[in-house]
Structures are given as C-alpha cells and as structure tokens.
C-alpha cells in the first residue's frame, strides 16, 4: 500500500496521473483518426449501396452493390456485438502482427480502432440518412456528379449529426481505452488498475475517475457546441 504521508506521494500521484492522461489522449487520438477515416467511408458506403442509392450499382452491377452492402453491414454488426474486452483479446495476434507487441499505448490503438470504426460508421449512416432525399434530387437536377452529391450534399448536410456522433465515439473510445489500460495498454485505466486497485490507493482511483469524468464532459460539450454551430436548420 502506498503511504500517503510520504513527502513525494502527491507529486508522484500528479505525475503518474498526468502521464496516464497523456497516454490515454494519445491512444484515443490516434485511434480516433483511423476511426474517422474508415468509419466515415464505411458509413457512406452503407447508405449509398442500398437500393436506389448513389452507388447502388458499383462496377455496373446491382449484385455488387448488394454484396458490398450486406458484407459491410454484417461486419459492422459483428464489430458492435462482440464485447470490447473479448474483442481486445481476440485481436492480440493481429495487434502483434501490426505493432509488433500487444502491450503499451501504441498496441492499444489497434483494438480501439477496430471497435471504433463500426460504432462511428453506424452513427455516420444514421446522420446521412437524415438528409432529405429532395436535396440529392435537387443536386441531380443541377447536373451534379455523384462525387459532388456525396461530398457537397449528403456528407456536408450531415456534418452536424456527424459531429455529435464524433463526440459520442470519443466518449466510447475513452471508456474502451481504460479497459485496454487494465490489461497493459497504458493510460488512465492502467493507473487506476495498478495504483488504485493493486496497491489499494483510493487517492489514485479517485484522481483517475475525476479525470475521466472531466475528459468525457469536455469532449461531449465540444461535440454539442460544434453541432450547434454547424447546424443552421
């Protein structure tokens, strides 16, 4: 047990928690980057490969559209249905293949990204679905290309919803990152587990909890603020 009367106790705590926060932000930040890139793409493809969608007939055939749509939908569902703690363990060989190790903040990025992509993809899909079909038709009537319709109409109009989805995803990733931390992924979860649990320090535990609450509050508020600013409905 840690001695809270030790003169360096509080400065150690401060330093450890600060480092943990840094690691958490790093892990979450990098996985968020990949999540956004792939999740946005997957969300767009999910909507557009549906019957009557912009990419209903990729490579000139509806069959391809159906296949791509169904496979992607299945993947997203699988990704969302495996509890993160199991997904994390399942992915260990894959993580090792990519990062070279399955321990540490960088290794934690892999399962976080894999869990984040389907989550964000669904939110993007929902956001784009909310865009009235009439807007797409208006752009078509102006002679817009599919790419223009996609980028300047569908995604552009869904931006406020996507911003909210983004903050929800960040909150989710912060939660997952604490779970990875507990099994060697570093970050605040690691601090809470090693100091708070294994070394019975309520001070560490408390500090981590407060920081997590602050982080979640911060990102959720940022998301809400961005969505409000971006929406002109």
């Amino acid at each position: 047990m840690l001695d809270r009367n030790d003169p360096s106790f509080w400065s150690d705590l401060f330093e450890t928690v600060l480092q943990g926060t840094g690691e958490t932000l790093y892990t979450v930040g990098i996985s968020l980057l990949f999540t956004v890139i792939f999740g946005l793409g997957a969300g767009v493809v999910l909507v557009t490969t549906e019957a009557g969608g912009l990419l209903a007939k990729p490579f000139g055939s509806r069959a391809w559209g159906i296949i791509i749509n169904k496979v992607l939908d299945l993947l997203v569902n699988i990704g969302r249905s495996i509890p993160f703690i199991i997904l994390m363990i399942l992915l260990i060989p894959f993580t090792r293949l990519i990062v070279g190790s399955f321990i540490g903040p960088t290794a934690a990025i892999v399962p976080l990204t894999i869990a984040g992509i389907p989550f964000f993809a669904r939110l993007v899909e929902i956001g784009i679905r909310e865009v009235p079909i009439g807007l797409v038709e208006a752009a078509e009537s102006l002679g817009a290309t599919r790419w223009t319709i996609l980028s300047k109409v569908m995604v552009a109009e869904a931006v406020p919803a996507i911003a909210l989805g983004l903050s929800t995803t960040i909150v989710g990733l912060i939660g997952y990152s604490a779970m990875v931390g507990a099994v060697g992924g570093g970050g605040l979860g690691d601090v809470a587990f090693r100091y708070g649990y294994q070394r019975y320090s309520p001070e560490y535990m408390f500090a981590v909890v407060i920081l997590l609450i602050l982080l979640v509050q911060l990102f959720q508020s940022l998301g809400n603020f961005a969505a409000r600013r971006l929406s002109h409905r």
């Binding site: 009235p132 009439g134 807007l135 038709e137 208006a138 752009a139 078509e140 009537s141 102006l142 002679g143 817009a144 290309t145 223009t148 300047k152 109409v153 552009a156 109009e157 931006v159 406020p160 971006l230 929406s231 002109h232 409905r233």
Partner: protein, 327 residues
C-alpha cells in the same frame, strides 16, 4: 423546345403494376408557360421528372432543346441538365449553406470559377428580389424567400428551360401569387420555357399560356388555355371556374365564357332589354388577371324556346363562347 413523344412508364409488374404514364405526348414551344394539372397520383410528377431524366421512361422519347434526354447518360446527361433548371415544392435548399452558397452550388457544378460565380450570384439574387439576403441561411427565410432562392439556384446557370414541381403548393395564396408573377416575369424577360405541374387551378389561370389535364397517367386534353376555355365540355374550363351543380327546373341554362375583350360589355342587361328575358344569374366566377377579365357566368333563361334560342344565337354572333348546359 420540349417534346414528349408517346412516353410510358410503370412501376412494379404484373397485377400490381402502376401505370404512371401511358402513351403521353405533348409539345411545349419556346418561351411558353405550360401547366400540367391533375389530382395527386395522376402522373404529373413522373411526367415532369422525365423532362430532366430524374425518371427514365419505359418507352417513348423526351427531347429538350434538340437533345434526346431520355437516352443521354453520364457527362452528356449532366451537361444537358445544366440547361434545365428545376424548382420544388419543398424548396430543397441545403440547410448548411447560405443563400449565396446555395445559389453558387449550381455554378460550382458547371465549373465556373470563383470570381465569376460571385458576380453571377449577385446578379441573379437581384433578379429574384433577394438583394441583401446573400448571407442568410435558409432557416432564416420565409417560404416565399426560400422559393426565390430555389428559382435563383435553378436559373443561375442560364438554362433555357425551367421545370416547376408544385413550386407554390407549400405557400400561402399571396406568396403564391408573388412567386407566380416572378416566374412569369422571368420567363418573359429571359425567354425561358416553363413547364409546371400543379393541382392548383389558380396557377393555370394566373400564368399558363397552355395547359394539359392529366388523370391516371393519361393526358385528357391539352391546348392553349384560351382555346381550352372556349372548348365545349372542357375539363379545364369546368375546373377553372367551378360554379357548382346545375339545377333542373326546365329552364334553359347557359354558361358564357368571358375572355378578356368581351367581359366589360353589359351582356346580361342587353339580354334582358333586347330579348325581354328575365335573366337569372345562377353563378359566376370572373377574375381580372394581368388586366384581362376571364371567367364564366351561368345564366338561367326562362321563357319560350324560340326566344331563348334566338337570344343564344345573338350572343354567339357577338363573339361570345356560349355553352348550353341544361334545358
């Protein structure tokens, strides 16, 4: 300018198939304002959407400004669409873009450079009466203003055809009138050919040169509005001036259609004076539109058959369109 030739389109197949269009043909001359009226489900919407190929016909041909749009694809179709503007019932403006930016979208699509776009947008916003609204978002505008943005967006790329899909159906009567007048004005000023669909008869009365009446995927009658009004048993005529049901009391009942020139003549007084008939007015719908009086009056002419027949003959000789609808 627009030619629709034997176009058919159905949805679904077998017994449940819906024939949205059945062998529809029509021609719209350059600079004309052509209205298609009919109840919802008549196929109007499908018809107008074949003009810019948002909907492809199963058979038949749609030609716009010489191009067979029903068969164009890819870049050729997109460039043909630059020549056909379209406005919608629910405006379909991008909520994330300002008025300026919404109109600019049309020019971004045609590939105009930024400087030229700015200039053109300012020009067209002034034309539709939206000066000073460039920085506003659609949510801050009234319905009429939103439709003006729609019109500006549709016309920014200087098309020669404007399609209007129930463009005034979501607006109140006064705003409807303003928007219709704007469309008419722009059509005259820019030599624009306009095809509009509507279920509001007022729209036809107010701006259309020609019209077609649709029901269940077929065109029942078409022609110039003036021509249709002076055609016996014209559906358009009956729909435009609804006078209610016809009483049956043995007296002769006639309807006189006024069309600009004749309306200011004291027809009824003359009838009473010259022929000695106690004319009864059963109904009338007469309106002044763009300085011309248009409308119908339903009169009851009691009395001896010979006198009444002579009176009707006399009215016809004055150049009036008279229909005997009951006797």
């Amino acid at each position: 300018m627009i030619s629709v030739d034997r176009v058919s389109k159905s949805y679904g197949s077998g017994d449940t198939a819906v024939h949205a269009l059945e062998n529809v043909s029509l021609n719209i001359a350059k600079g004309e304002i052509f209205g298609v009226v009919g109840q919802s489900g008549a196929g109007k919407s499908t018809l107008i959407r074949t003009i810019n190929s948002l909907e492809r016909p199963d058979s038949g041909t749609v030609t716009v400004d010489g191009a067979d749009i029903s068969r164009l694809k890819g870049a050729a179709l997109r460039s043909a669409r630059h020549n056909i503007g379209m406005i919608f019932q629910h405006f379909n403006l991008l909520s994330s873009r300002t008025v300026q930016s919404n109109v600019e979208l049309s020019l971004e699509i045609t590939g105009m450079d930024r400087g030229a776009r700015r200039k053109r947008v300012a020009e067209i916003l002034e034309l539709v009466g939206l000066e000073g609204k460039a920085a506003a978002y659609p949510a801050q505008l009234s319905g009429g203003q939103k439709q003006r943005v729609g019109i500006a967006r549709a016309l920014a790329s200087k098309p020669s055809v404007l399609l209007s899909d129930e463009a005034t159906s979501a607006l109140d009567p006064e705003t409807t009138r303003q928007i219709l007048d704007l469309i008419r004005e722009l059509s005259r000023e820019l030599g624009l050919t306009v095809m509009l669909i509507t279920h509001e008869m007022d729209v036809v009365k107010r701006i259309c040169d020609s019209a077609a009446v649709m029901s269940q995927g077929r065109i029942l009658e078409q022609g110039t509005v003036e021509g249709l009004l002076t055609t016996k048993k014209s559906l358009l005529g009956q729909a435009l001036f609804q006078l209610g049901e016809i009483p049956k009391n043995g007296n002769t009942i006639i309807e006189i259609t006024f069309n600009g020139v004749t309306a200011d003549r004291p027809v009824i007084a003359q009838l009473a004076r010259t022929h000695g008939i106690d004319v009864g007015i059963l109904g009338a719908a007469i309106e002044t539109i763009h300085g011309r009086q248009t409308g119908r009056t339903r009169l009851e002419l009691p009395g001896q058959r010979e006198i009444v027949t002579a009176a009707i003959e006399d009215l016809r000789n004055q150049g009036l369109f008279v229909e005997v609808i009951g006797c």
